[in-house]
C-alpha cells in the first residue's frame, strides 16, 4: 500500500525524506479548533499528509475511509472520547499495526498510564514540541513498516504451508497405497503403523507367492520426511513384482539391495527384515538387516525366541559383497513372529523418556502368558507416549502360523505360477557370422535370471555355460588343442590362435539347447544344457590330465570339465565330443 521504504533495523535513524513524508498519512482527532490547527500546521510544515476529525465518532469514520498510518487522538472529546475511539480503531485495523498516540494536557501519572492501558501506544503532552513529534512519527512509522513486512511474510508462510500440506496429503495417499499394498488384510497378520510412520520412511509389504509362501517385508529408511519415503517406491514395486512371480526371498532382497545401492545417495539406506513363511513346510526363512531383533512367540512353550540379526541394511553394500542368505526357523501352528522398527523402542513420553528395550523385553519375557501379545505391546507403548505428539513413527507387525484350514483358504488367493518361467525349452543357434562377433553368455544369463530360483545360481551357471561354450568354439569349431596351453607362452599363443581362428572362420556353428522343468511339488527343478557344435569332436585330444592332489606343477588347462562336473549333477560327453550335455538340479534351500 503506502510502504515502499524498507527498514533495516529499529536503530535506523536516517531521516524520513520529504518526498516520502507526503506518503505518510496522519489522522488528527481534536475537538479544540485551536489545538487542532496548531498540530495540523506543524505536521503540514514537516510535509505530512494530514487528515482532521473533530470528535471521536468522526475519527473512527475517517480512519475507515482514509486508512492512515498514524493516529493522534485527543483524550477528551465529545460524542466518543479518545480511549473509546482508540478501541474501535484498534479493532478496525486488525492485523495491521496502526500506532495511536494520545494528545493530552493531563500530566498526572495515573492519567498517562490509563492512556496507554486503554490501547494507546504513546502520548504527547500539550503544549507540543515539534522535535519530539517529528521523532515519534519517525519511530512509529518504522514500527508500522516492520509490522507490515512481518504480516506479509506471515501470510506468505501460511500460503506456502498450505500448499505443502496439500502436496503432502496427495503424496501420503500415494505412499499409503504403495506401502500398504498386497495381502496385509490376511487374518494371520496384525500390524500397526502410526500416522507419521509411512511418511518417515517406514514400509510394510506382504504378498503371496505361487510357491505357497507368504512373503513379508518391514523396512525403515534412514532420515525423515519425503527424502526417506521416496526409496519405498522402488522397494515396493520390486517386492510385489518378484513375489508374485515366485522368486525366493533371497532373490528379492538381493534385487532390492542392488536397486537401492545404485539409486539412493550415500547415507540413505533401508533397515529391513524380510520373511518367507511356508505354511506346508512349517518354517520361516528370515533375512534381517539393521532393524531391532524381532522374535518368535512359541505357542507351545509360551516363550519368546529372539531372532538372529547381523546383516547390513539394504542399499549399503554392492550386490557383490551383499549376503542375501536368510536364516531358517521352525514355525509350528500358533507360533507368532513379531517385528518392529526402532520407533517402538524410541517412542517417547511427553517428558522425553524413551520406551526402551528393557520395557519391551519385560513384556516379551513376562512369566505369566498374555493372550494378545501384539495388542498388549501396542497398548503399553501408546500409554507410554501419551499425548506427546513428537517424532512418533511406530511400526509393528506380527505374523501367526495358521492351522491347516486357514492356510488352505489363504493359499486359494495365491497366484498360480503361470506368470513365471517354469516349464520351458529354448534353442539358440549361432551361425558363422554370429559366432565371430557375438558373445552369447550375457543373453543366456539374462534368460536364466528370469527363472525363479535359477537366478541365485547365475554365478555358477555362468561358469558352466562359459566352459561349455568355449569348449564348443575352441575344441569343436576351431579344433584347437588344449595341449598348447601346457606352458605360459602356449597359453597366450592359444588365445591368439582362437582370436585368429574366429576372424578367419569360413563355416561353423554352435547350437545351445536349454530345457527347464519343475519337479514334483515344485520344490525344485532341473535345467538341461546341451551344446552341439559343427566340429569333429575333441574327446580324443582333450584326454584330460587332471591335476592330482598335491601336484605343485600346475597345468594351464583341463580344469573346465572338472568345474562343470563339480557344479552339475551330471555331465555327458557324447563321442566324438561335439555334443555335450550338463544337467543342473536345484531345490529350494530347505
Amino acid at each position: 500500500m503506502n510502504s515502499v521504504k524498507t527498514t533495516d533495523s529499529v536503530n535506523d535513524v536516517a531521516p524520513v525524506k520529504n518526498s516520502s513524508k507526503a506518503k505518510i498519512k496522519i489522522l488528527v482527532a481534536e475537538d479544540s479548533a485551536v489545538d487542532r490547527m496548531i498540530l495540523e500546521c506543524m505536521l503540514k510544515k514537516d510535509g505530512y499528509n494530514v487528515i482532521l476529525a473533530e470528535d471521536g465518532v468522526e475519527a473512527v469514520e475517517k480512519f475507515e475511509q482514509e486508512n492512515p498510518d498514524l493516529v493522534f487522538l485527543d483524550v477528551l472529546m465529545p460524542n466518543l472520547n479518545g480511549m473509546e475511539a482508540a478501541k474501535k480503531i484498534r479493532a478496525l485495523s486488525g492485523d495491521l499495526f496502526t500506532p495511536i498516540v494520545f494528545l493530552t494536557s493531563l500530566v498526572d501519572t495515573e492519567s498517562l498510564v490509563t492512556c496507554l492501558e486503554s490501547g494507546g501506544d504513546d502520548f504527547l503532552s500539550k503544549p507540543y514540541n515539534a522535535i519530539i513529534i517529528e521523532a515519534k512519527i519517525k519511530a512509529f512509522y518504522r514500527m508500522r513498516e516492520m509490522n507490515q513486512t512481518m504480516v506479509r511474510q506471515r501470510d506468505q508462510i501460511e500460503l506456502n504451508n498450505k500448499h505443502l500440506m496439500q502436496e503432502q496429503e496427495v503424496a501420503k495417499q500415494v505412499f499409503d497405497k504403495i506401502t500398504h499394498a498386497g495381502t496385509l488384510d490376511l487374518p494371520i497378520i496384525k500390524y500397526y503403523m502410526s500416522a507419521l510412520a509411512v511418511f518417515n520412511g517406514d514400509v510394510l509389504l506382504a504378498d503371496l507367492s505361487p510357491t505357497g509362501s507368504l512373503l513379508m517385508l518391514l523396512g525403515d529408511f534412514t532420515g525423515h520426511g519425503l527424502p526417506a519415503a521416496i526409496g519405498s517406491m522402488p522397494l515396493a514395486s520390486i517386492f510385489h513384482g518378484m513375489a508374485r512371480k515366485g522368486f525366493s526371498i533371497g532373490d528379492i532382497i538381493r534385487e532390492i539391495n542392488g536397486k537401492l545401492y545404485h539409486t539412493l545417495p550415500v547415507g540413505l539406506f533401508c533397515c529391513a527384515t524380510a520373511v518367507d513363511l511356508s505354511f506346508h513346510k512349517k518354517r520361516a526363512l528370515i533375512w534381517s538387516g539393521g532393524l531391532p531383533e524381532g522374535g518368535i512367540y512359541r505357542a507351545a512353550s509360551q516363550r519368546f525366541d529372539v531372532l538372529k540379526s547381523g546383516n547390513l541394511p539394504l542399499g549399503v553394500l554392492s550386490n557383490r559383497e551383499f549376503n542375501h542368505t536368510p536364516i531358517r526357523y521352525e514355525m509350528n501352528e500358533g507360533d507368532e513372529l513379531f517385528l518392529w522398527s526402532d520407533g517402538i523402542i524410541e517412542a517417547r513420553k511427553p517428558e522425553g523418556e524413551m520406551f526402551g528395550e528393557e520395557r519391551l523385553n519385560a513384556l516379551l519375557h513376562a512369566k505369566s502368558p498374555v493372550a494378545d501379545v501384539f495388542g498388549n505391546i501396542l497398548k503399553q507403548v501408546q500409554e507410554h507416549i501419551g499425548d506427546s505428539d513428537g517424532d512418533d513413527d511406530v511400526s509393528m507387525v506380527s505374523l501367526a502360523m495358521p492351522n491347516e484350514n486357514v492356510a488352505q483358504k489363504i493359499l486359494l488367493s495365491a497366484p498360480k505360477s503361470r506368470g513365471s518361467l517354469a516349464d520351458w525349452a529354448m534353442t539358440l543357434r549361432l551361425n558363422t557370422s554370429s559366432l565371430k562377433t557375438f558373445d552369447p553368455l550375457p543373453l543366456l544369463l539374462n534368460v536364466i535370471s528370469e527363472v525363479p530360483h535359477l537366478r541365485q545360481s547365475s554365478s555358477v551357471l555362468y561358469t558352466v555355460l562359459s566352459e561349455l561354450f568355449n569348449n564348443a568354439v575352441e575344441h569343436g569349431v576351431l579344433n584347437l588343442s588344449s595341449q598348447l596351453k601346457s606352458s605360459p607362452e602356449g597359453f597366450v599363443e592359444y588365445y591368439r590362435l582362437r582370436k585368429e581362428g574366429l576372424a578367419e572362420l569360413v563355416e561353423g556353428w554352435v547350437t545351445i539347447d536349454f530345457e527347464h522343468q519343475l519337479e514334483e511339488g515344485a520344490d525344485g527343478g532341473v535345467l538341461t544344457i546341451r551344446f552341439t557344435d559343427s566340429g569333429s569332436g575333441f574327446v580324443k585330444e582333450n584326454d584330460i590330465e587332471r591335476t592330482a592332489e598335491g601336484n605343485l606343477h600346475p597345468n594351464y588347462y583341463g580344469r573346465g570339465l572338472q568345474l562343470i562336473e563339480s557344479i552339475c549333477e551330471k555331465l555327458t560327453i557324447n563321442v566324438p565330443g561335439n555334443k555335450v550335455e550338463a544337467i543342473f538340479r536345484w531345490s529350494t534351500d530347505d
Binding site: T463, F491, T547, P554, Y556, L563
Partner: protein, 101 residues
C-alpha cells in the same frame, strides 16, 4: 569389464583389481597390468571384490601370472573371493598355489 592395477603404498605389491567378468576376453588387459617390468615387486594381489563371474580360462590366466612372478617362489594373494569363487578355486586345488582370502 575392466582391470585396473596400482602399486601399493610401500611399493612392494602390485594390486590388480578385476571388475565384472574375469575370463579369456580380458587376457590381454590382465597381462598388460603386470608385464611392465616393475622389477622391485615382492608380490601380487588380485582383488576379486568386483568380479562377477569367472571360468577356467581365468584360472589359467592366474597360473600364467604365477609363472611370470617366479613359479613356486611367487607371492600371490587372491583377495575378496565370494563363496562361489572360493569353491571354484578349491575344486582346482588353487589354495596350494595361491594365498586365497
Amino acid at each position: 569389464m575392466a582391470i585396473n592395477s596400482s602399486v601399493s603404498g610401500d611399493g612392494k605389491t602390485l594390486m590388480i583389481e578385476v571388475d565384472g567378468r574375469f575370463d579369456a576376453s580380458s587376457l590381454d588387459e590382465f597381462r598388460s597390468c603386470y608385464e611392465g617390468g616393475q622389477s622391485a615387486l615382492a608380490g601380487y594381489e588380485v582383488n576379486l571384490r568386483k568380479a562377477e563371474y569367472l571360468d577356467s580360462s581365468a584360472l589359467g590366466m592366474l597360473l600364467v601370472l604365477r609363472d611370470y612372478a617366479g613359479g613356486d617362489k611367487a607371492e600371490i594373494t587372491i583377495s575378496n573371493c565370494s563363496p562361489e569363487v572360493k569353491k571354484i578355486f578349491a575344486i582346482s586345488s588353487f589354495e596350494k598355489l595361491f594365498s586365497i582370502q
